[in-house]
Assembly symmetry: C2
Homo-oligomer: 139 residues x 2
DNA sequence: CTTGCCTCTCACATTGATGTCAGGTTTTAG
DNA sequence: CTAAAACCTGACATCAATGTGAGAGGCAAG
């Protein structure tokens, strides 16, 4: 398939695909006229790349990881293992952080909802105590 | 305290603090000479801002949220509630996504480890089947 | 008062992924 | 064969948060 179709299937812009290739994340065979051709597997690969991007891995990091996945017998697999472990840890930490943030957001929403209810009970407006200073304990 | 101290306490650059103020996320009183002064609470506030940033909220979004937290009696609290709920959902989705990505990474690591073990068992090198195509089923 | 450190504003640079535009070529449908 | 649609390369634009540097001024200790 050509680049437009891959883009459509993977839900990515054509521009991005060319960028991935430029970064060494994706390869293509070229037609006689120079147009890129891809296989079905590339759809999956692009999806995976997107996933890693979403996980906060940089293009640079992904570049170091993917070659190992293509041919796991490379000598660099040791380094890649290490890097994968490191990224996994980073990801776990990040997830923890997001969970805590979501909790904090929940606290704020409960507080806001409480205020809403209070207001609905015909209290005078602008009686508010700031939510942040009292409700949130950092880190 | 002055800006340098706040920066140090919150673990943020001075530049960022000025940027937060520019974006309306943070306010300061000014000394006669024009220097910014902050209170203890601002340390906490900055930590919270950082947390929201880490959760992927844009400066724009945070700007819309924080005023509601400062004085929860504002009329905009309805809109803010809605936005908070929306961001909470987005955050949840994102967390789900990261968890799945971490799982995928685990799969890859297991595969890589298996290959490592196989190699250690004195197999010839470069026998590798690509991990990605076989092991990963997208989305 | 002077020295040194901190702060001020303004402005331009950077980074990463992507958008967009221009000018030209390939492929495909009619 | 021709026109439309898709593609090519290359370059410049964008966005958000932050870095960085210049030139000037505030503030506290000696």
């Amino acid at each position: 398939m050509r680049i437009g179709e891959l883009a459509a299937r993977a839900g990515v812009s054509v521009r991005s695909l060319r960028y991935y290739e430029e970064q060494g994340l994706l390869t293509s065979t070229r037609s006689a006229g120079g147009q890129r051709h891809y296989t079905q597997d590339d759809v999956e690969r692009v999806a995976f790349i997107q996933r890693l991007y979403a996980a906060g891995l940089s293009s640079r990091t992904i570049t170091e990881l993917l070659p190992c996945l293509d041919s796991p017998s490379d000598e660099n697999s040791d380094a890649a293992m290490e890097r994968m472990a490191k990224e996994r840890d980073r990801l776990s930490t990040h997830i923890e952080d997001l969970l805590r943030t979501r909790d904090a957001l929940d606290v704020l929403m409960v507080a806001a909802q409480a205020h809403r209810d209070a207001r609905q009970a015909a209290r005078p407006p602008h009686d508010g105590v700031p939510v942040l200073a009292s409700g949130f304990r950092g880190r």
